[in-house]
């Protein structure tokens, strides 16, 4: 039988090895990114710069992702996203877009959710043929860091996505894909001995399908359905039913002194509808409505609705 001390040492060694391997992966990813940037810079004369700015507001009916009505909190926020990137036509069928972006969200009531994020992404797209109707595949790698006013949510993000799509007519296109999302929490503030405090250390896998139809030359309607299986976070007042099925718990003062964030396994079904009104070739007004339903461990079930109004501009 192992003594508690040797068990602790083994855990420490394991953590050290894990940290080393993470650092090694980070170095490799950085090297690969540098090589890609150098390769692309060599053909910079064929690159097109892109600048995007999205400014708007959002409203969320259940920011806490709570299932008890008394714990549900809603709020509205101002949002601003800015991105600069470059597109390379690698061949007649292949394109690569590298983008750096920054975003911020400022909430009206719950200032702990205010965030400043920076990130980068790479999208490789391949068309299986010539013409707008040729099917295509797009592979996306995105990463970033989000710095929240409430430290519990500070995290690095990694998002991998593979999407297959086709335009069936100039007005109608559809796509489906799979996504892996990983969020690495920076702060570990456990409140229960033996249970992790890294509530926002999350990962999940999703599948989704989306379609867009341009009703007129200016108005584009979109619909997206997705299902995600993975970690979810619900913030409530102390709740035994959630406590017993949580694998990470931390105090979440963003919503008040008595609130705790619980990490659970769950499945989230999301339906999104959107309308985009083109103001001209470079800008649009966009309205999006999202409904989420999450069925988590221990019979925890919650819903949330959110709506966005965004002005999008591209140069």
């Amino acid at each position: 039988m192992r003594s508690p001390l040797s068990k602790r040492n083994a855990e420490r060694n394991c953590e050290r090895d894990c940290a080393r391997s993470c650092a090694c992966i980070r170095v490799r990813v950085c090297r690969a990114a540098c090589a890609l940037i150098v390769a692309c810079a060599s053909s910079a004369s064929n690159a097109t710069w892109q600048f995007d700015v999205d400014a708007g507001s959002l409203y969320d009916s259940n920011l806490t992702r709570a299932y008890e009505p008394a714990d549900i909190r809603a709020d509205a926020a101002f949002t601003l996203d800015a991105a600069a990137g470059s597109f390379w036509a690698l061949s007649g069928s292949d394109g690569l877009t590298l983008t750096a972006d920054a975003r911020t969200e400022a909430y009206h009531r719950f200032h702990g959710l205010n965030v400043l994020g920076i990130g980068a992404s790479g999208v490789y797209k391949h068309k299986f043929g010539v013409g707008y109707a040729a099917p295509w595949i797009a592979l996306t790698v995105a990463g970033g860091h989000d710095d929240y006013r409430g430290d519990i949510r500070d995290s690095h993000r990694l998002d991998l996505r593979a999407e297959l799509g086709k335009r069936f007519a100039p007005e109608f296109d559809a796509a489906f894909g799979g996504r892996y999302d990983r969020r690495y929490a920076r702060n570990d503030e456990p409140v229960v001995p033996g249970i992790s405090g890294k509530v926002f250390d999350l990962h999940g896998q999703s599948v989704y399908a989306r379609a867009g139809y341009a009703i007129t030359e200016r108005l584009l309607l979109g619909v997206e359905l997705s299902a995600r299986r993975g970690d979810v976070v619900a913030t409530t007042r102390p709740d035994f039913d959630i406590f017993v099925v949580s694998d990470a718990i931390a105090a979440d003062p963003t919503f008040g002194p008595g609130f705790f964030a619980y990490r659970l396994r769950g499945t989230t079904d999301t339906a999104k509808i959107s309308a985009s009104w083109a103001l001209d070739q470079q800008s649009s007004l966009n309205v999006t409505y999202v409904e989420e339903r999450t069925d988590a461990a221990g019979g925890v079930y919650y819903r949330s609705h959110s709506a966005n109004l965004v002005y999008a501009w591209r140069y």
């Binding site: 097109t48 999205d54 036509a89 929240y148 070739q281 649009s284 999006t288």
Partner: protein, 218 residues
């Protein structure tokens, strides 16, 4: 005295030539009375005799700001057309139209060889990199054609004086080109006018404007 005679003869000759040409002013509006730009008006002599130019001129369809410029180009059948690219990004221009199928592999600058449009009809242009890019080459079997400007008017000048069948084509035209046929007798020379009112449908074009992502994360 000789010089006066020479000038008089020349003036007479020019007058005779002018009297032997006709011009037709075409006017195209939509069903709400607005002028229609980029409509191609074609005049075909009813007797089938056309004064074919000795050599067809070269056409140019440019690519500027990821759009075809001009959007509509009208050329005589057999005309070579060049596709210079003035963007920083490369383009891959193609067409699947029966009147001319071609594909210019990804290029920057100007391709070495022009594309010869050797069959009459409408050729729809696209770019495989930028799906929203769309352009049209109208290949006319008659040497007498013109494109309407922003005022919806086109001038067919220097026509041999005879009767013509005129028709009009536009990318957004709801009815077929054949339904627009009109006969104009310009046998006496001088100016004539013809007008069309077209019902336009929405353009079959992929939208270029951005779409706001509307992200929510926390």
């Amino acid at each position: 005295m000789r010089a006066v005679l020479l000038y008089a003869t020349l003036a007479l000759a020019v007058g005779v030539v002018r009297a032997q040409t006709a011009e037709i002013t075409a006017s195209v509006t939509d069903d709400q009375g607005r002028p229609v730009e980029d409509a191609v008006v074609v005049a075909v002599p009813i007797d089938g005799r056309a004064r074919v130019p000795p050599r067809a001129r070269e056409g140019i369809v440019d690519q500027v700001d990821q759009e075809f410029v001009p959007k509509v180009t009208a050329v005589l059948v057999g005309t070579p057309v060049r596709f210079p690219n003035h963007d920083n990004v490369r383009h891959q221009v193609y067409s699947f139209s029966p009147a001319k199928r071609f594909e210019l592999p990804l290029y920057a600058g100007s391709p070495a060889e022009p594309v010869v449009f050797d069959k009459p009809g409408v050729v729809v242009l696209g770019c495989n990199i930028h799906d929203w890019m769309i352009g049209y080459v109208y290949v006319s079997e008659s040497p007498y054609f013109a494109k309407t400007g922003k005022d919806g008017k086109a001038l067919l000048a220097d026509l041999p004086p005879r009767a013509y069948t005129l028709r009009v084509w536009h990318p957004q035209q709801d009815a077929g080109e054949d339904t627009t046929r009109k006969t104009v007798d310009a046998a006496r020379g001088g100016p004539a006018a013809v007008a069309w009112t077209l019902k336009l449908k929405r353009e079959a074009k992929v939208r270029r404007a951005p779409i706001g992502e509307g992200r929510t994360r926390y």
